[in-house]
Structures are given as C-alpha cells and as structure tokens.
C-alpha cells in the first residue's frame, strides 16, 4: 500500500466498495441478490448508483437459492451478498446446496472491521471458518488492494472446472479504504489446474469399448448440463445407438421424449432404467458421481459392466465405483472427440429386452382413483405446459413424482436440490429462474412442508411482479418421511404432519393469487387458471395424503431389488 501511496499523483483511487461494484460489472453481472446490514452499507451505497439490479429476498437463504437458480438456469455465475454474522450464517444452507450440486456462485459477505476480528465483536462470525467445507473456495480480504483481483479469481474458480460456490469475506474497512485503480492482472493460481481435454488414448479406449459392447448404457448426470454437453451427448447416443439414463441432476440433459431415453435411474428411478444398468455389459458414465441414491448397494451395482467414467473432477473418478476406463476431461470435449470414433451397432437383442422391460414396468399410478393422485396433477401440468416450463421443486415425494412424470426435453429446465436435498429450495429457486428467464414459464412444484419453510419469498415475487407459479402437492404430510415411517417404522407417523395455513388465502394476503383444487375433476381447470395468471400464483392441490413413490429401492438393497413393481397387480 505504501508503495502505491507514494505515487498518488499518477494513480486514480476509489473506495473499495466502488472497486467491488466495478469488478462485478467487469464480469457482466446484471442482477444480484442481496440483503443489507451494517458492514455492507458502503457496498450497497455504491450499488445504489450502479446499473446492477439488486433483488432483495426476505431471508438470505432465499437470496442464495435465487442466485443458485439464476446460475443453474443460465450457466452464468450467480451473485449473492449478505451482511456479517447472522446474514452470513443464513447463507450456509444455500451455499451447501450449491456446493453439493456444483453450482457456480460468488457470495460476498460483510465482516467486522479488521482490527476487531477475533474479539467477539458485534455481529462477528468466523464466516470463512463456517463456510470452508461448503464452498469450493473461500477467502477473507485483508488488504484492500487485493479486492479486485480476489473477485476476479472468485469468478474464475466458481465458473471453471467443476463449478461451485466461492465466498469472499470483506471487512467493512476494506470497503471504505481508498484503493488505487489498477488494470486487471492475469489470474495466477498455481494450485488450480483443470484438465479440459481428455487423454487421447483413454478416449480411443472408451470408443473401442463402446464399439465392442453388446449391452451398453449411457448414465449421465449434472456434469452434462453444467458442461453444456447435451448436444454432443445426443449425437453420440444416436450415432452409437445407446440408451440413456439420467440422474436426478441430469434430467433434461437428454430429451426424455426420445425413444433412447430410459429416464431416471436410482432409488426412485424407472424400473427399466435400473434393470438396464444391472444387466448392461458397459456403463458409460458422463458427468455423474455414482451417488448412493443411484447405486443402491455398491457391491452389487452394475455387476456385469465395464465402467467408463468421464468426469472433470479426478476425485469423482473411482471414488465409489472403480472405473475401468477413466477419462478426466470436460464432457463436451470428450464426447465430441469420441463421436468421431464410435460406430453404429444395431444391438437388437438389447433393445428388445429394454422394450420388454418398458412395457412390463412403466412408470404408473392409479388413474382410476377417486382422489387427486399427485402424479396426475404433475402429468396434467406437463400436458398443459407442452412440457416446456422451467420446473423447480422442494424436496420429498413431490420432487420424485416430478422427476418421474414431467418429461424434460432440454438442459437447465429442471432445477432441484439433489445432493443436499434442501426443503424450501423450490420457491426462491423459481424466483431466481424467473428473473433470469423473464419470458419463460417458471413453475415451482412444491410440497406443503417444503413450501412452509421459505414461503415468505412470495412477497419477493409480488414485489418484483414475477409471474412464478407454485403448484402445491398438498398431502398434509412430510410425505417422503411418512412413506418411510409407513414402510420401515410400522406406520408410526411420528411428527410427520403439520397443520398448514390455508395456502390459497395466504397467497392472497401476500398479494398473489390463490387457487385450490379439492376434487379430481377440478384439476385441469385449476391448472389452466394458474397458467393463465400473470401474477404470482399458488395453486393448492389437495392430493391423496398417503400415496407413495414407486418404484423404490430400499436402502441397502441393490438396484434391481425394487419394491412397488407389482403394486397394481396386487391391488
């Protein structure tokens, strides 16, 4: 600093807060989500005059989910700001959610003055300490001259390689300090290397394994979406003629209306997807991480398969399932190169077998029930939106039914908390996605208990006149938990139901529109009315309270040992 002040005459200076805003603008930030507090006042003062649109959530967690969905739905970096102490701790659920699902975020938190750090000062929290395991990287800035470069590094780290949230903790004195304006330096991070291009020999080996396989399956995940690899994936699946199954995070990476789609695999995946995985001779994993919800009992997962694993993060490879042919690289590049090397194979027996599984075990529910089946609501919503809406969810049964019955046809269309499973994600995520995609229909398919957690953000939707829709699958239960209690705890429904408010009236009180469907016949009309609405709208569907999600691989069982396949034969 001293070196710079001696040259004061030559160098222009600005307050740190202005430097922060300028650096955000330099990265093309148009919108950010931020909540005020004492130690971010200097920053908000500069945002006041900036062209950046600041969206105020009602709770920092909501703001973080909004930034998260903004990022997921566009591929850009989401930005969130919170004050020190309680503001920062309120971010944690949002950061952990983004971390688990590899979402690029930059979080800026205010911090108490540098000289007070460690003194239990007012609203002090060890933010970098608290957020270390739930961020890709975090730093505290203690030299105002490093502000701009630290923000540049944060954007770089958040958005490259395996994306993730980066937090910068900024003591208030850093925002006030006069800082010399210097041109951007090249980013030097000696410990941060990314291998974008796969190894040519590994790519060739993978292509040869594909060409010689009789029963291959492509198992693709969130990495295909975040890596913008859907197009090369589609071409590869078509050219080599391989069926494709997706993880929850991968839904939309491959058009589910395509005959090659096996839809979702895993604990609540389609039976035919799970059977295909268990019987395949080659599993081609692209940008997925062999999560335990996907593999079931690890030892018995895909027992006959050689495994190709294409992933940008070397630590994902052979973490849970050893890879026979590991390819470290960006799915987009690797698939594009593989495309040149694969050949079309008919594989008639394999596709006949799959067709038979599809015929015998389709995803289904009781269409003749007198009650409103939750699956029916989602299927009807899918029809009326022509499958084109951006969908967000809470966590629970409604999330699984959405994964099963809304057919996604494009990447970044389905926004859900998979890794952390954060109830309350749905509404703020819908708001973030709507802000990023003002001309697209955005619907939060939510559960009653999940919605209860963050419904205060309805007032954000009203304030910014966002036409988000909440399609509430209201079963009066923490349904997913109740299902486990039914199946594994002898139907003892301990603490798994809530007394909810009248959601439709509550929505009206917020200044939104409230609708309700109590009878099956009402469902299509209520959906229609909801979709016609230009204001934020909550439609409360009173669904069958004790419907279950089928099929289900019970914990500890292997993937083909699904319950619920014969549910209709039994009935």
């Amino acid at each position: 600093m001293t070196a710079n002040t001696t040259e004061k005459t030559a160098v222009q200076t600005k307050p740190g807060s202005q430097i922060i805003v300028d650096t955000l603008l330099e990265h093309g930030v148009e919108v950010l989500f931020g909540y005020l507090g004492g130690v971010v006042l200097p920053l908000f003062d500069k945002l006041y005059d900036s062209p950046i649109r600041v969206v105020i959530p009602r709770h920092e967690q909501g703001g973080c989910h909004m930034a998260d969905a903004y990022a997921r739905s566009t591929g850009k970096v989401g930005v969130v700001i919170a004050t020190s102490g309680p503001g920062a701790t309120n971010l944690t659920t949002g950061l952990a959610t983004a971390m688990m699902d590899s979402v690029p975020l930059v979080a800026l938190t205010g911090q108490v003055r540098t000289e007070l750090i460690g003194n239990d000062a007012f609203q002090e929290a060890d933010t970098t300490g608290i957020t270390r395991p739930i961020t890709k990287h975090n730093v505290i800035v203690k030299n105002p001259n490093e502000l701009a470069q630290t923000i540049r590094e944060a954007f770089f780290i958040a958005s490259t390689g395996r994306p993730g949230p980066v937090l910068i903790d900024i003591p208030v004195d850093m925002q006030i300090a006069q800082v010399p304006v210097t041109p951007p330096q090249p980013i030097e991070l000696p410990g941060y290397r990314i291998r974008e291009r796969g190894h040519a020999r590994q790519i060739t080996a993978a292509a040869e394994a594909i060409n010689s396989s009789q029963r291959p399956v492509l198992y693709v995940g969130g990495g295909v979406i975040s890596g913008n690899a859907s197009e090369p994936l589609r071409k590869l699946a078509k050219k080599a003629n391989i069926p494709v199954t997706m993880t929850l995070m991968g839904l939309g990476a491959f058009d589910q209306n395509d005959p090659l789609s096996l839809n979702m695999l895993g604990m609540h995946g389609a039976a035919y997807a799970n059977f295909a995985v268990q019987n395949c001779d080659l599993l081609v994993c692209v940008g997925a991480r062999f999560d335990d919800r996907v593999t079931g009992k690890l030892k018995a997962f895909a027992p006959h398969a050689r495994v190709i694993h294409i992933d940008l993060d070397p630590s994902s490879i052979s973490k849970n399932v050893p890879a026979d042919i590991p390819v470290v690289g960006n799915a987009r590049h690797v698939l594009t190169e593989m495309l040149e090397l694969v050949e079309y194979k008919e594989r008639k027996e394999w596709f006949d077998q799959i067709a038979e599984w599809k015929k015998r075990h389709p995803l289904r529910y009781d269409q003749n029930a007198k009650t409103i089946k939750p699956q029916y609501v989602i299927e009807e919503l899918w029809k009326q939106t022509q499958g084109q809406a951006i969908i967000t969810t809470g966590v629970g049964q409604h999330q699984m039914w959405t994964a099963q019955f809304y057919r996604f046809n494009r990447p970044r269309q389905f926004i859900t908390s998979g890794g952390l499973g954060t109830m309350g994600f749905g509404l703020p995520a819908a708001i973030g996605a709507q802000i990023a995609n003002p001309d697209t229909l955005v619907i939060d398919i939510d559960g009653d208990s999940s919605f209860n957690m963050t419904l205060t953000e309805l007032s954000t939707a009203v304030m910014y006149e966002l036409p988000v829709k909440v399609c509430l699958i209201n079963n009066g239960y923490m349904g997913m938990v109740r299902q486990w209690q039914e199946l594994f705890y002898g139907k003892r429904y301990s603490c798994s139901s809530l007394k909810s408010p009248d959601f439709a009236r509550l929505a009206e009180a917020f200044g939104a529109v409230g609708l309700r469907a109590e009878k099956k016949e009402d469902v299509p009309a209520v959906i229609k009315a909801m979709l016609a609405e230009k204001r934020p709208c909550v439609a409360d569907f009173r669904v069958d309270p004790e419907e279950n999600v089928w099929p289900m691989v019970p914990a500890g069982k292997s993937l083909h040992e699904m319950d619920g396949l014969d549910i209709f034969e039994m009935a």
């Binding site: 270390r132 990287h137 000696p190 410990g191 630590s315 050893p322």
Partner: protein, 169 residues
C-alpha cells in the same frame, strides 16, 4: 497401510485450515502432519502421514490436490524416501543411572540438550522406528515428558541412493 504425502501449498492464511478441515470433513485419518517454510517464501511444505488402503489414500491425494491453495501433492508410496522425525524426550535420571542412559543416548546417536539432578533431556532424530525404539528403551527409567514432530520426508534421487545407503538401519 501408512502413506507419506508431501504437499506443496501456498504460504497464505487459512491454508492449514483448508487442509485440516478437508481431512476432518471426509473422515480421513492423519497420523502426523508437519508444516514448514520452503526456500520459496510463497510456498510451504506439508508432510502428511495418513493411514488407509491404497484406494482411500488415492482419494486423499485427489481431494488434497483439489484444494485451491494446494499446489502439488506427491504420494511417496513405493519410492525410496528419507523420512525423519525429531523428538525431545525428558527421562528420569538420578545420578547413578547417568552412565547407562548416556550410553543409550550414544547408541541412538542422540544428543543431551539439558540435564538436571533428576532428569536428562535428549534430542533424537531419525526414522520413526528408531524414535519408537528409543522411547521403549527409556521407558524403564520413567519418561517425564515427550514431544515429537511429525514426519518430514524427501524422495531420494536414484544416483545418491548409494552414498547414504547406511541410513534407516
């Protein structure tokens, strides 16, 4: 199995917390950890001894390398390495036992660094098994205090291997 990992890290605040936090969060076991400066003021060296089978240690290595402030990680498994611990040990030592204990210190190429009427403080450096052996040899006299560094290690260059071949006995 024990693995020695050597990590070059940026000499920045918070790096140790990043590394230690990662080990705790992922339930990896650290046997010992030694941190020190290098000849380059911007870099520090961490030598980490971990226990685990090869797959676990491979995951440890990858997770370490993933930390933004960690520049380079090497697993010394299967390599010819020089590994050393340093220990200060204070042993009960009444005057009549002195000759015995000093002979022991001599045998282990240790150094007496402090002495009183009832104790002797000894510095011993060497491979871990030598340190362990010295501790066992002292135990009958009574150990009053003991402090050890974690292991530090460096891979041997193939051509110098002969020169120092007496090491590690």
């Amino acid at each position: 199995m024990k693995h020695i990992l050597s990590a070059l890290v940026q000499n920045k605040p918070g790096v140790l917390a990043h590394v230690a936090g990662m080990f705790a969060a992922r339930a990896f076991n650290i046997d010992s950890l030694a941190v020190g400066r290098t000849d380059d003021p911007s870099l520090s060296r961490m030598t980490i001894v971990v226990i685990g089978d090869d797959r676990v240690v491979e995951q440890v290595r990858k997770q370490l390398a993933k930390i933004v402030t960690v520049v380079k990680v090497q697993d010394f498994a299967g390599m010819d390495v020089v590994a050393r611990d340093l220990m200060l040990i204070s042993v009960a030592c009444p005057p009549e036992k002195r000759p015995e204990i000093l002979a022991l210190v001599e045998m282990f190429q240790g150094k007496v660094v402090d002495i009183g009427s009832k104790f002797v403080m000894v510095e011993v450096a060497g491979p871990e098994n030598k340190i362990e052996a010295f501790i066992e040899a002292c135990r009958p006299y009574g150990i009053k205090n003991l402090v050890r560094t974690g292991t530090v290690a460096m891979a041997r260059q193939p051509r110098t291997a002969v020169v120092e071949s007496e090491e590690g006995k």
